[in-house]
Symmetry: C2
Subunit: 209 residues, 2 copies
């Protein structure tokens, strides 16, 4: 399986999004130029990114939208379902447990863990909440490959260590904490605070103008 | 006010995080080398990033942790409070309304908007939910500068247009939808699906090895 560049992978969901909108608008085919206009990526880049799908860009008509969308989902492995578990059932964790957009993108959360006795044993958006003490035994038994971290930052490294011990292959980290894990473990960060930092500073710079 | 590079701004919250941990561990001073070890950024980069704070790196002892943390918060404008409103009170939107980590980083959400009659008029985590029809009037009246978008992707552009019309200066976009706004509007994206795309593909590539 070819390694696709990270920058391409990050753009693919945006192409999928505009393809859905074109479908809703009743289109069947779309040109790279049109995708370029709707995503603001240069059409040379669009063509290069979409060449990973091996769907043909037919002269005059363009890409078949349905085939292209399916091919992108296959590239991203979103057509398969991957099981995951989540640790930290606070506001953000609970929201992710109920976030149906994930299951449309191949990710299901089958278990969750917390250290709050009031939460342990309950079910949040259909997902059972277990004690953090059970992470290694339960996750290993179910051969779960993806762990999602939504605990406070100071607890994130400990949770990552437990996840690695439970046999996880990939960690999706929603905390600003940099995780130290073995090199064969995939780590992806959603750092909201990095984004908030840019937004806050740019706004302050603008106000000072 | 100097323009700080985006890459530096994105790292500053991680420095803040380790400074908090050093404080909890009872430290008062810390070297760039130690910050480098805990964040995995090269110490030359750490020194360069932190030079924007104008806090001195004293030979032998290093940075004063308390002063450095305060200076970073000031650079990010996190010591001031900025008001914002949020549109789209679904699972993710509700979670953000209850997310106390934001107020520690200078962001308060004072109003929220949705188009679901069952939600309009209720209060979620202390924040009133109004009808989307009131966005322009209410936000303009309160001179709110930041708008947060947590609606489904296909509604994001319309919401962004309303926000711009309401006099917003910056948009924090939690959807994968690319927004088209006037060039003087600051847009920051938290694209979870871009991150999920990388994670899913890397895991599939690894499984295929």
């Amino acid at each position: 399986m070819d390694r696709i560049p990270t920058s391409t992978l990050k753009r693919l969901p945006q192409y999928l999004e505009v393809l859905k909108q074109f479908t809703r608008a009743g289109l069947r085919e779309v040109s790279a130029t049109k995708i370029s206009v709707f995503t603001d990526f240069h059409q040379t880049l669009v063509r290069k990114d979409l060449s990973y799908t091996s769907i043909n860009n037919v002269p005059q008509s363009g890409y078949n939208i349905k085939q292209l969308a399916k091919a992108i989902e296959e590239l991203l492995n979103w057509s398969d379902t991957s099981s995951s578990y989540l640790v930290g059932v606070g506001h953000l964790g609970s929201a992710l447990l109920g976030y149906q957009e994930f299951s449309l993108r191949g990710l299901t959360i089958v278990d969750s863990f917390d250290n709050d006795p009031a939460k342990i044993g309950t079910i949040v958006h259909g997902v059972p909440v277990h004690s953090v003490l059970e992470i290694t035994s339960l996750a290993a038994k179910k051969h779960i490959k993806i762990g999602i971290i939504t605990v406070p930052p100071e607890a994130a490294q400990l949770v990552a260590d437990l996840m690695v011990h439970s046999g996880i292959k990939a960690i999706w980290n929603f905390t600003p904490q940099k995780l130290h894990v073995p090199t064969d473990i995939i780590v992806e960060n959603v750092d909201m605070f990095a984004s908030l930092a840019v937004l806050s500073r740019r706004l302050a710079e603008k106000d000072a103008q």
